[in-house]
Structure formats: C-alpha cells, structure tokens
Symmetry: C2
Subunit: 569 residues, 2 copies
C-alpha cells in the first residue's frame, strides 16, 4: 500500500489527489494544506471582489469533508510542512491552529506549494490597507477594507493579469483606480503595440494609468479626527489609517485608500530548498517531464516548478491554472507507477479587460528578440464575424513565425468577442506543428454570427504565406518611422479616411481604386512603402505595383497598427 | 496574355477573379454572372429577412463597378453562358436583358455556378408565396410577400441550415412557423440525440415542429372577397392567393400564408454536362485537387464540385462558403501557372438557433455506421466557462474517434456561447492529425469568463483517452435501453436529482459519496452500468468499482445524454 502525501491543496495538489484515488483504492492519500481552504477557485477571486460572482461560497469548490467522502483523501488544513527528511522519508508537520508538531511518513511526496505574491522591500510595504490577492483570506481582507473604509480611490501596483482584473473589479465597485506599472506596458506576455489596445481601454474607462512608474514607499496618513464627537473606538480601529500616501518612482506623491500589490509571483521553494531538492535556472523547482524532482520519490507541480518552453525547450516559469491541473494528474499517474509525460508549455493565456480581451500563446516578439531568434510578424484586423451581421468588432491579431520554415512561434489578439477562439485555434495549430502555410486551409465554423468565410486565422495565415512565398514584401511601423530618402510612402485609402482617422506624416495619398490609372505619379527609382487602414487594400496595391515593375512593401496591419504602435496613453 | 473567363460571380468566382488579378496585371479577366448581383453575402440573406441586418445594401459586398475599379475585372451581370465549345475554347453568352447572344473565347475557364435549391416535383410547387432562398431576388420576393400579405403563419420545409435560419427569421418577424422535416431530425450533419437539443429549442420557441413529415402538395386557396367594397385591384393582385393549403405526407392538411422550401441544394451541372465534362459519383462536377475538371483548361469550384472527404478521401458535396472561397483562390493560382492543392474537406459547419448554436466537424456516428467503420464516442457536458463565473451554460460535446488508434473522426457540439470555439479547436486538431490522446494536453486560453482550467476539449480528450488506455469502459444509451438480466443499473447521483431531473427506469440509486461504504449492496456477478448526471461522478464510481473488483461500465454523458437521446419533441 503506497502512502502518498501531497503538500498544497489547490489546483495541482487537488487534481493529483483525486486522480491518485481514481487509480488506486489501496493508496493512502494525505493532503496537507497550510491555509484554511483547499481547491478554491483562485482565478475567481477578483470577480468576487468586483461583485460579478455574488456568492463567496461559489469559490469554494471542495471541502475537506467532500474530498474525504468522494475520494477517501485525508485532508488536513492549517497544516504546514516545515521539514522534509528525505533519508527517512518523514515530514514534520505543524498544526497552525495548535502549534503542535508531528511527523508523517511518505512513500511518494508531491509538492504543490504554488507561488507567492512578490512584496517589494520598500518602506511601508506592511502598511494597513495594503494587500496582495492570492487566496480567500486575502480576498476577505480586501472586501473588509472596502466595506469598512469605503475608499474612494485605490492603487493597483502591477499591470499583469491580476492587476488588470483588480483594476476592473475596483472600478466596478465605484472606486477610482490608479494603475502603476514599472515597465512601459501592461500585460508583459504581449508586445507593446498590442498592450497599447489595453492602455486605450483603461484610459477610456477612466483608469489613471501610469506607465514607467514604480512604487517606492507607502506612508500611513494619521486620521485627523476633526469632529469633536467622534468616538475613540473609531480612532483606535486598527484599520483607521484609511489614507495612504504613496511615493512614486517619478518623485510624485499619491494619496490613496487601498493598495493592491500585483507585481507578480515567485515560486514557493523554501521547503524544497531546505530539503536539498534541485532548483532550476529561473528559481523554480526543477522537475523532469514526469514531474519528478531530483529526488525520485518527490514530485512537484504547478506554479512552483519550471517546465520547458514549447519553442526553445528552455526551463520557464508558467504560473497558470491549466498546466497546474494537468501536471497534478501526470504526477499522480507516475507516483502510482505509470509513465506519463508533461508536454512543453506554450503559456497560452487570456485576460478580460472591461468589455475586451487580450490573449496570447507562444513567444512574443520581445522574447524572440531577447533570444536572438529570426522571426517575421504580420498583423490583421478583421471582424470577429461577418461585417454585415450586427455587432461585428475587429479582432486585432499578431502572428509571429519563422520566416524561412513558417513555424508558428506565437500569436497575440485583442478584441471584444472571439479573442479566446482565435488564440485557441492558433495554440492548437502551433502545438500540432502546423505551419503558417497551413492556416489558410483550416476549416473553421462559419455562419455570419460566428465568423467569416475567411476567418481571422485563415487571413493571418494567407498574409504570412504570401510573405514566405514571395508574393508580398511587408514593412513594419519601425520602417515607416525610419523612412529614408530612397523610399516613398503611399497611402491607398480614400481621402476621407486620412482626414477623419489620421494619417502617417508625409504619406502621399492615391486611393487603391485609382492606382492603376495614376502609376505615373509614383517613382520607379524608390522603394514604395504602402499603407492602407488594415493592410488588405495595401496588399492589392502591392501586387498591382509589383506586377507593374515597382519595388514596394506593404505595411502589415496598415494605419491601425501604426496608430496602436505610436499612440501614447 | 491569358484570358480567364469566370462563370458565376459569388463566393468562389469572385475570390478567383480578385486573386487572379493580384497575381497578374496582364491577364484579361471576364466574369459572367447570370443574376443581377455579384459577390453578395448569401449567408446573410436569412438575417435580413429576420431584420437583424437592417440594410439590404450591407449584403452587397461588391458591385461590377467596384470590381472593375479595384481589380480591373470585366464583370457582366444578367449574362448567362449557354454553351461551351471546348474544341474552339469559345463560350456562347446570352444577355438576359436583351436576349442577345454572342461568343467569347477563353484560355482558362472557371465554373463557379453554385448549387440550386431543390424544388420537389409535387403538385402546386410553383404556387404563389412559395419560395426558395438562394439569392437577393429570392430574399426580396420573400420580404415583399411578408410585407404585402402579412402572413400570420409560414411553413418552412426542410430543417437544414437555411431552414432553421428561416424558422428563426420568420419567428422574429412575428410569424408563427411550422417546420416540416421529412426525416426524424433536423440538421442532418449531426446525430439524432444532438439534433434533439435543437428540437427542444424549436419547441420552446413555439415552432410547430413536425418531424417525419413531408410536403406532398400545395393548393392555392382562392381569396373569398366577403367585403362588398373590396376593390378589384386587391382581388386581382397576382399574390392575392395569400393562403395555401398544404397536404402533408401524414395526410394532414395545413393552411399557411407562406412556404419556404429549404430541402437542400443540388449542384448546377447543366452547363458542365452539356460541355461533356466528367461528373462525380455524387452528381457534382469532378475536379482534381488543383480544381481542374476533366478538361485541363477548365476549372470548377464551390457548391457545384465534389471534393474528397477528409477521413475517407471519397468524393463529397460540401456546399459551404469557406471551402468555395479557398477553392476559388486555388483555381486562380493554377490557372496562372502555379501548383496549389485544395485539401480534403471536413465539412465544419455551424448554425445559430435562437440563443443557441449547433456545430459539427468531420463524420457523424450515422455516417460512420453507413461506412461500416469502427468508432467509439464520448459525451461531455461541461460549462462553456468556469461554473462559478456568471452566465455559465453547458456545451454538450460529442467526440467520435477510432477506438484503437485514437484518430479523431468527428465532433458535434450544442450550447449557447463557445460552441464555435470548441468545434474549431477540434477541427484544427483533426486536420493536424492529432489524436484524442493529445487533446488533454492542449493549452487553451483560460480565465473564468472564457473557459475552464480543463476545457471542454481537454475533458472530452481525457474521457476518450481513458477508454483507449483501458482506464474506463463506457456504455451508451442503447446499452441502457437494452439492459439484460446479467446487468445492473446504478445511478450515483443524489436522490434529489433523480426526483427533480428524472431517472432511467429501473436504476438503483447509491450516491457516489456513499458508494465506498455501500459496496455490499452491489452484485459481484453482474456487470454494473453506472449513470450520473453528465458522466463525471460516474467515472469516479467506475474507478472505485473497478478497483474493488467489480465489472462495470459508465454511461458516457450520463442522464443528460440519456434524456436527449430518448426525449420526444
């Protein structure tokens, strides 16, 4: 009879426990969770803060009792493992309610400790009303602070998934929000011009967005009790400091009522380190493809481990729920004698931002540049469904690929509806080893309410294939911004579009439908950089010019991509 | 200079013309369209009838003028090709406005004639107020009939895509609708139990759904002018017969104001046949993978041609817009000397049905049975997104696969949101040659508003993989309906679910969470058929029983699949 001990009762740990029991009635399964709750919906926390999820209980997916009755798993909450004796295969467990310590043996051990929110070592970081959001108690504290202090203003530090979700949640609570982001963009997994769509949404929603701005200090502002009849009780309340003065990296000061720290997470490796388990180059627990650590009887899964990147096979930290669940299942299989492998991680992810969504899979242009890897990119902005059917809204899609082989390296999308679908389709194509040349052949569902006869993905694939086959040469915004004397910038939109939407400085306007008659106006000795609104008419113009002996390139994604690359929010 | 003549100016023809011009400035391109309109949004027609698309002009994507100015294509509408002289490479064209006939030579000819609505040879088929819906004039006629006659009741004949869209469109116009369907289900591409979801929606929306019912005759009911002051004008109006008496295959009579024939389409092959081009076994024009007919200078695309089925490679008729567009592009490439191949057709399709959607890709169980091909199937009914996030609604998903290799043979889905996404993901996986064993590893976008950490597709893949690996034996509704003395039916839901939702007759109820303690109540000498609501708890129970030495099978999709298989609407 195998005794399996699982440390951590959320995503990966809970998946592993359930799977282990399904594989074996005999195994003794013990799950130790430091906190009060197991298997809670951590991805749902911001949506209870926002009020979208009205019932807190909805987030509690399992209880120790339900896990016991369904899976015969001995679940102990408030139970922290403080030492692992790998020689004797014995754990020291501390009951956090009683401070009592005791020992538990294991045959197979699974570490699923997760990742902890980063709290930067700045003055005042432990001030009142300064929170992270990792678990149910964190959420409860934030809701209590909102309820008690009724802040009119909150500050979110960090523009990642949780930061953006909390901006929206607080906004929905009627609280004005400042978002501080140290880098020049939110949503690090996507490239700046795609993040700029999100910046635009945030500003439209009256978020005080401060890019390139960090938090350097937090100071509690003493409550001045001006009313003579104010009760002592109120003044002495530990949360009474309901105003905080923030010092920003710009030197500015900001008074706020609530601070949410959402800078990022770091893998919880203290126990693993202390036990002498190997860590990887990114600071996570090192595991093989069977989720085994450097000790063959100890497995690890979830946000605490490094898994190989899909494209480079290099170790990466991917703190996402889907991978954690899959890893838990695989670890359980292998602890019970099977041989299952976790596959490489693409990092497919999505974030809702008000009525919009931003999503990505695979590598960004930024990360490929860092790796020094050759790539090409195309942008398309087609509607999420047939343009003539009501409610169509563009999906702005960036496809990144190997310019020689057509290997799919990554993709990013922004829009209202259908963003998830397009990134899912691309993620599957990428994982299956399809090339961009295959994308135009994908047969996707089409009816006017759902898509187009040539879907976003088909279209992006066609554009990329045109480049690979030499049917189109593209240029990008950086080329247009650095235009030379040997180049000529041609805008083939209708004049009204230039006036009403905007235009790239210096562009000469000849509408595409007049181009065939007006070729004489174009220089034969210069390279013609063509732009239109989204790149489609530019492609028609490109082919027309190329077939007439001109040297030309088409601006991928057209003026819309130019605008989102250059706009400042 | 190549002279390309294209017969038919919609989907495939228009795509080919635009592509041909992009490839060559020199080619002479002539497009001959029998009707008044080119490149109109034929998929949008029902949505203008419904009023969703308010502007008729929105359906007219291109005009002869716009095609001329952008693509330098000579477009002639009202121009019917009545003969092809393949020896001389000369067409006889008839101007339908003047009845004048003239000849046009070609170097390369493309046939894109489409498919014509089937009008069954029944008495009265040419009655007033009896319409098909193929093009803009058809739509105009339907709208005029609605406007003039103000029918209170309409009858749609045929429950395919157009039939279902027209049921909804007419309902939205405030017209009561009877839907006649000769077979036992609507939506032929899906299996009966999946079509039953649609039947349920139709009945909930007060559609008078008559399955297994055909139309055998239409009789115009003379208008009885009872008012003495009725004007002669009104009585003599050609559409005055605003009541029709329908005779049904059941012998019943039905009085209706409007009949929409949506029985299906047949490829337009008159011209191709007359020209001596080979037809295929399904009655469409035979083409090779380069879209060439049996005459190397004549190409054909779209609803008129047969293309190879993705799974069987056998010729199939797939009258869908996406394939037509892709084929047009490929034909243009090859007419101009390239070597492009159309890939096999999966028949991926979707239909909106009121607030719901039904979609499929690949083969149905029905068609695999007809082919005598071995398959297994699984059903799952997970939410379209995290259950704790508001608005979750199940996606009922049927995955059909090869039980030995795991090859994906097809999939069907019904639900509200996210049906298109799941079928798209499956279609890509299928096309890429992934197996069901790969589906659990797909890394799809997840945040609570969009999906689940284990998405519908991951979950279906896990269930299928469990079967292939021998981790689960499943049974199906047909097994439960034909239960033997050697079998025992166990329902592991909670008692309240059986009472409130319904239960399979004869099932013994032991809730899954009590099962471990109540094993003694189960027979060791019988095969235990397990059911729960959707199959998840049944799986837990299956593993528990199997690990305790029982012989068992789990009903795939649980009571929900049972109900949708057996319910009568």
């Amino acid at each position: 009879m195998t005794k399996i001990v699982i440390i951590g009762g959320v995503a990966g740990g809970a998946s592993a426990a359930a799977r282990a029991r399904r594989l074996s009635e005999d195994a003794e399964i013990l799950m130790l969770e430091r906190g009060e709750f197991i298997s809670f919906a951590n991805c749902g926390l911001p949506y209870h803060v926002s009020g979208d999820i009205t019932q807190r209980e909805a987030l509690l997916l399992q209880t120790p009792q339900s896990f016991k009755s369904r899976f015969n798993v001995d679940v102990r909450v408030f139970s922290e493992v403080i030492a692992v004796d790998r020689q004797r295969k014995v754990l020291t467990v501390k009951n956090l309610l009683t401070d009592e310590e005791y020992q538990e043996s294991y045959d197979k051990l699974l570490l699923s400790p997760g990742a902890a929110p980063i709290r930067p070592p700045i003055p005042g970081i432990h001030s009142a009303n300064t929170f992270s959001l990792r678990n149910i108690p964190d959420m409860d504290r934030i809701l209590a602070a909102i309820s008690v202090n009724k802040p009119k203003h909150a500050t979110v530090v960090g523009g990642g998934f949780i930061g953006l979700e909390m901006v929206e949640a607080l906004h929905q609570r009627g609280i004005a929000v400042t978002l501080l982001e140290l880098s020049s963009q939110v949503m690090a997994p996507v490239d700046p011009e795609m993040a700029n769509f999100v910046h635009q949404v945030l500003v439209q929603q009256h978020t005080d967005l401060r890019l390139n701005t960090g938090l350097t200090a937090i100071t509690e502002i003493p409550v001045v009790v001006s009313e003579p009849d104010a009760t002592d009780d109120y003044v002495e309340h530990p949360d009474a400091a309901n105003h905080l003065e923030l010092t920003l990296s710009t030197g500015e000061k900001l008074v706020t009522g609530l601070v949410i720290l959402a800078i990022g997470v770091k893998p919880e490796t203290v126990l693993a380190s202390a036990a002498g388990l190997e860590l990887g180059p990114r600071g996570g627990i090192k595991v093989d493809e069977g989720m085994r650590t450097s000790d063959p009887d100890i497995y690890a899964v979830g946000d605490a481990v490094e898994t190989p990147d899909f494209v480079t096979a290099q170790p990466a930290l991917i703190p996402l729920a889907g991978p954690a669940n899959r890893q838990g299942r695989i670890a359980a299989d292998n602890m019970l004698g099977r041989d299952e492998q976790y596959q490489r991680t693409q990092g497919t992810a999505i974030c809702k931002v008000f009525d919009f969504a931003i999503a990505s899979t695979g590598h960004s242009e930024k990360s490929l540049k860092r790796l020094g890897r050759a790539y090409e990119k195309v942008y398309v902005h087609p509607g999420n469904h047939a343009g003539y059917y009501p409610g169509a809204f563009p999906v702005s899609f960036k496809l990144i690929f190997d310019p020689t082989t057509g290997q799919i390296l990554g993709g990013q999308a922004f829009g209202k509806e259908g963003v998830d679908k397009r990134i899912d389709v691309l993620a599957v194509a990428m994982r299956a080893g399809l090339k961009v040349q295959d994308l135009e052949h994908l047969e996707l569902t089409y009816a006017p309410p759902f898509g187009s006869a040539r879907d976003v993905i088909n279209q992006a694939g066609m554009v990329a294939t045109n480049i690979i086959k030499g049917d189109e040469r593209v240029c990008h915004v950086e080329d247009v911004l650095n235009i030379t004397e040997a180049q000529f910038l041609l805008d083939v939109r209708n004049p009204g579009e230039l006036t009403n939407i905007g235009a790239i400085p210096g562009a000469v306007n000849i509408p595409v439908d007049q181009l065939r008659q007006r070729l004489a106006e174009l220089p034969k000795d210069k390279e013609i950089l063509i732009t239109c609104q989204v790149g489609l008419r530019g492609h028609v113009a490109y082919r027309l010019l190329a077939n007439n002996g001109f040297t030309a390139r088409n601006l991928s994604g057209g003026y819309k991509t130019y605008h989102m690359t250059t706009a400042q929010f």
